[in-house]
Symmetry: C2
Subunit: 83 residues, 2 copies
């Protein structure tokens, strides 16, 4: 059971890496929803705080991995929207 | 603490709804990464199975909410890629 949670965490954790690479390369964010990435980044940040205080390593690490590419995509989306 | 997890779950759970609405309306998926949504949908599916067997309602419900918009985005992305 733990391995399933770990695999699920790894999959969701790394899943935004391809999107962040694509976004960095193309700078094209037209079809990306700003609101989705604001909500998602806030949610992932809360999961990190929750995982830290609940001492749940899987939740903490998974979301720590997820927040990096997500906030990158969010920053680029905001920059492209301002232009 | 439970409320923080619940709020985090709600935020990440609903976060893909704006993206799915945008994708359904515009059918524009050019800047969306297919690989991201394949990985993420697989990860979320595993979280649902994990939450079911671990009897973790928060994980189960959050990811059940997340899988709907995500798989919609994935299906549209695949369709648009085939065209």
């Amino acid at each position: 059971m733990v391995y399933m949670g770990l695999l699920a965490g790894i999959l969701t954790g790394i899943s935004f890496i391809p999107q962040s690479i694509k976004t960095i390369k193309t700078r094209d964010t037209t079809s990306i929803s700003l609101f989705t990435y604001i909500l998602f980044t806030c949610g992932v940040s809360l999961w990190i705080v929750y995982g830290f205080f609940a001492k749940d390593i899987a939740v903490f690490v998974t979301n720590l991995v997820t927040i990096l590419p997500c906030s990158l995509i969010l920053i680029i989306k905001i920059r492209e929207s301002i232009k």
